[in-house]
Amino acid sequence: MSGAGAWARRYWALMRNAWLVDFQYRAAIALWLLWGMMEPAIALGIWWGVAGTGDVAGYGRADFARYFFAVMLVNQLTIAWDSWYLDRWIRNGELNFRLARPLNPVHEALADNLAYKARSAGFLIVLWLVVAAVWPPVRLPFDPARWALTAVAVALAAGMRFFISYATGLTAFWTTRATAIMELHAGLSLFLAGRIAPLALLPPAVAGVAGVLWFSSMLAFPVNLLTGAVQSTEALLRGFAGQVVWLAFWFAAYRLAWSRGLRKYGAVGG
């Protein structure tokens, strides 16, 4: 057979292989996105029924739709999962060889986190555009200034959630039940961060706690900023201030847990 034909076949094989590898990769990302979409979709389904033709504390069906689509997007952009593997590494000794490397593992974790978000964010935004084209309730008014502010809030929230995840993972230095701490935090954030419902629907005392602690800063504030629920300059400044304060707090918590934890880890001969 001529050289050209053989080369054509080789390239076909290479391209097919690359496509298959890429496909597997994309399938994995698609499944993670699907996972992230289920909770807001279910919550939206229930509130849609509750709201009926009227509204619930000022939220009508369209408002809920906008809110939960925003939750889907912001959650994907701010989510962190480091607590789970850190707990595993510390418990089964896998942390050791990573400590021997010159670079603190936190950098690789952060880079990995950002890369994942870059990949999945594009997909979600496209999905929102497509849905908005056929389903009016999720449409947002064209407001680039608001979107820019939201981007800042999302970045702050993402940083905060990263350090929350990292710090809670590091509690594995002191307890075998670090996953219980993570589950507790997840359970609280279900209500306080606004995952199950907009904070306005919670009993006022509970919503107050969410505002005082870091929970509203980690999800509810960026979401409300995007949907336009945050209007006044005062609310805007208060929201950003809260984010900055809690980001600093959790960064400090991470640093403390890391230095103290390593000392303890080393002392045990780990």
């Binding site: 597997q24 990769y25 399938a27 994995a28 499944l31 993670w32 699907l34 996972w35 992230g36 289920m38 909770e39 979709a41 279910i42 389904g45 229930i46 509130w47 849609w48 029924g49 509750v50 619930v56 504390a57 039940r177 219980a180 589950e183 507790l184 359970g187 279900l190 209500f191 199950i196 419902a197 629907l201 919670l202 009993p203």
Partner: protein, 256 residues
């Protein structure tokens, strides 16, 4: 064979009584979260899909019971399949002289997670008491049949989900996806708008796992529902078997 496998597991597990405490506390925390979520919905509505509060709690108890079955048997068994396909250790499993599907599905019994089943049934019983409802014997039989069928449907969903691992090898966290989708079974299917209702009845039939048994128990659906549930269970099992066979053929065929 299953009994023999489980005897070994149980003997191991009984040494770790701390796991029971952790398991029970975890389940109670999840139940509390679920009840608080329900309270939040009912703060703004008097009914959910036509069901009142304690009726939904009956359903929540069924959900917890099935979750117990998932955690005790399904996740440690067939839930490991995706990882094994990826790591290649599935070959060791397939080399055994027993039916692979039966072995993979029932190889482990995390006995402490059965506490979820007890707590779930307990919650259901309590909710029935609060409703002031005493189910007639036919309703109880229908409930038992529907619950058994529900277990089979949940099993079939796991088989279908895990079988994805044979075609998309890199999807390791399929069992986490199950949790996210199955959370939809916490509420009666009538509470959802049309699209989600269609999804949960026909595509990923989780409505059959909680809404139907709970309805049979509270009398929303008559005892003849048991027949429908049984049929759905049988069909689900057969479909799961077919999917398993196809997946296995692909797996063993590819490596030759």
């Amino acid at each position: 064979m299953v009994a023999a496998l489980w005897r070994v597991n149980v003997a191991e597990e009984l040494q770790y009584r701390a796991n029971l405490v952790a398991s029970v506390l975890g389940t109670l925390f999840n139940m509390a979260t679920a009840l608080l979520t329900l309270a939040l919905f009912f703060r703004h509505a008097s009914r959910l899909g036509g069901w009142d509060y304690w009726e939904v709690v009956v359903l929540l108890g069924v959900f917890n019971t099935l979750s117990g079955v998932v955690e005790a048997i399904l996740r440690p068994g067939i839930g490991q399949l995706a990882g094994e396909v990826r790591s290649g250790s599935l070959d060791l499993v397939l080399a055994r002289p027993v039916d692979a599907q039966a072995f993979v599905s029932f190889r482990r019994l995390d006995i402490w997670r059965l506490s979820d089943v007890v707590l779930g049934l307990g919650l259901t019983g309590y909710a029935l008491w609060r409703l002031g409802s005493v189910p007639p014997i036919l309703a109880l039989i229908a409930f038992a049949v529907a619950l058994a069928a529900a277990c089979v449907v949940v099993y079939a969903i796991w088989v279908a989900l895990m079988s994805l691992a044979f075609w998309f090898v890199s999807v390791e966290n399929l069992s986490v996806l199950f949790d996210a989708v199955y959370a939809g079974a916490r509420y009666p299917v009538s509470a959802y708008p049309g699209a989600l209702r269609f999804l949960f009845v026909y595509l990923i039939p989780i409505a059959w796992t909680t809404t139907v048994p709970a309805s049979a128990l509270t009398g929303r659906l008559g005892p003849e529902t048991a027949f429908g549930a049984a049929i759905v269970g049988i069909v689900a099992f057969l479909l799961a078997r077919l999917v398993w066979r196809a997946a296995l053929k692909k797996y063993t065929g590819a490596s030759g």
